[in-house]
Assembly symmetry: none
Homo-oligomer: 399 residues x 2
Amino acid sequence: MLDLVAPLVVENQSKIVLLSADGLGGLPHPGTGRSELETAQLPHLDALASRAACGLIRHVAPGITPGSGPGHLGLFGYDPLEFRVGRGVLEALGIEFDLRPGDVAARGNFCTVDGAGLITDRRAGRIGTDVCVRLTQRLRGIRLPGVEVFVEPVKDHRFVLVLRGPGLDGRLSETDPQALGKPPLPVRPLDPAAARTADIVNAFTDEARRRLADAAPANMVLLRGFDRLPGLPAFPDVFRLRAAAIAAYPMYRGLARLVGMEVLKTGATFADELATLRQHWESHDFFFLHYKDTDKAGEDGDFDAKVAALERLDACIPEIEALGPDVLVVTGDHATPSVLAGHGWQPVPVVLWSRYSGADTVAAFSERACASGSLGVLPAQHLMPLVMANALRLTKFGA
Amino acid sequence: MLDLVAPLVVENQSKIVLLSADGLGGLPHPGTGRSELETAQLPHLDALASRAACGLIRHVAPGITPGSGPGHLGLFGYDPLEFRVGRGVLEALGIEFDLRPGDVAARGNFCTVDGAGLITDRRAGRIGTDVCVRLTQRLRGIRLPGVEVFVEPVKDHRFVLVLRGPGLDGRLSETDPQALGKPPLPVRPLDPAAARTADIVNAFTDEARRRLADAAPANMVLLRGFDRLPGLPAFPDVFRLRAAAIAAYPMYRGLARLVGMEVLKTGATFADELATLRQHWESHDFFFLHYKDTDKAGEDGDFDAKVAALERLDACIPEIEALGPDVLVVTGDHATPSVLAGHGWQPVPVVLWSRYSGADTVAAFSERACASGSLGVLPAQHLMPLVMANALRLTKFGA
């Protein structure tokens, strides 16, 4: 798709806003039969849907639940099955760690183990970030032969491990058994070339266990998402857009930086993000705007909180429209149905408005309504070509 | 797709009509919210849609605007991303030029340049065909080492350049800078093997500049779409159909000839085309019938003219039905929304009738109505297998 689109790109003055409401899609409440989107009062999103093209985005494949990485890469135009990025890399980029080609990064969690070494809390009681900072200091002191070791706090119980040195390979299994009552697993090489790196990581976790022995509830670590920086074609080069990312959360800033977007400095709230959008309206053509609250509520299994998060988002739509974007897209990186209390595999509603989008028969922004929209069920990586077409930024293919 | 279908083909006496209304699809009028198809009175097409299978055809990929070449190749069953054909080849075939394997053909435009050599009109004020004929005579006299040079008038400001000789290669950039106030560009080889051909073309344009110096407004040429004849599997062989093309415009005759259809002699109007259809009804199985007016009106940005063109087409549907085709398909090669005044990326309505097509819930022939049809959104190259199946010309796959 990128190879098809890139040679067709032309530049113009149009402005594009891609609003990703994290974990947007949901499922019906067992009591009412209505999903979070169908329960919320969304006058502005419904009005937008009425005059725009709607559909559902499938981020990876039927039945496949996307992580935030593949979910957003798809929205940015990259086939998530072709371009794979480990969670460790994303976490490292999200804290603005200077990750270099060849580094192996992993996402770390502090966890709680009992006297027998069995996991009793996979998130160490969600310790505060201050505790996380203090404990990562201990782990930084770990010395391993032939590599530099970086241990950087992220938030709550999360940290990043980066190994730097020659010949490292990120094709490793994770140490998290994804269940309580089991011990952390040793990492296994998923390719023979990663055998030495596996030994190094296992030496790290052994030493971490010793150094954290007295630090309960954060007395052990879990590591996953080992990977190296992938070679992605840069978004601003492929689409010839001055692309900006506005996201309060490090993960999404990291993802945007990974594809070469300029990550704008912003505050902690969506109101801050909107202020940043207004400030930079003239200097950029494309804005990736990230809204986190929908996902957070869904992950918590809090149906009503997700409804409220959707209604808060809806109230902000006029502020975005007031800027006069030429193309406005509202969608999400994956579903986070409250009844699942986690990411879901369901395709996610999308509304795409431009002067040339046409309106279909959809008059409400919900999973069910968008299923009959003119965009159909759209692989995520097909969204950007449509966005570019609607911005009149693509010439025709063939004579 | 062709490899899958060809071994399944069986022959019978059925008659198939594929009516391509060029640039068929549109977009809502900003004033009324209704598209050209939704505005036009189309009693016959609506009735056909009511008793047939409907859907939308996507010719290339989401967001990608098809040129007429890829648009029609898709309707003929060829994946337009797999089979790419340069505009020069199509133009040459469209004037019945005897293009031979190895020839390099380009589409030429006469243009206007000012005293500094900068382009002031990319179409030379759309000079008449008579002027074009006279000026191509001048260019035919150009002699270049090692190649034969053919310069053939097409229509208005358009001509075809064909180079014939050993070792030519069509992988060349175009000379049209696609903007006013710039000079025509020299062609660049897009592959090292095309370096000598680039030199030859640049020598041609230098000499053309000299020979046209006194011929303002047609005092320079622009060249694009360089290519050689591609090796396409022949339509009559793949589908085992006695296939005829009926098209008043050279481009579409050229396309039909490219895939090996017999191009029937016809007149300048659609009434002439219908007369040709009647005359040849017994001698062929498959008729590609082309209607140009829809595209012309859309390209002119004339909403009302496009509505009128659709209504004229609708009035002809009974004449086609009276012949008793076993399969009747009405669709287009791409959208040409009046509001875009050019080709669009939007999928295009299709209606497919046979005794075995089934009827879906669609009762109107429009973009919005067909979006909920039983054919769904169909890649163009999937249409011919469906047509063949409806003609009972395919056996089953597997025992």
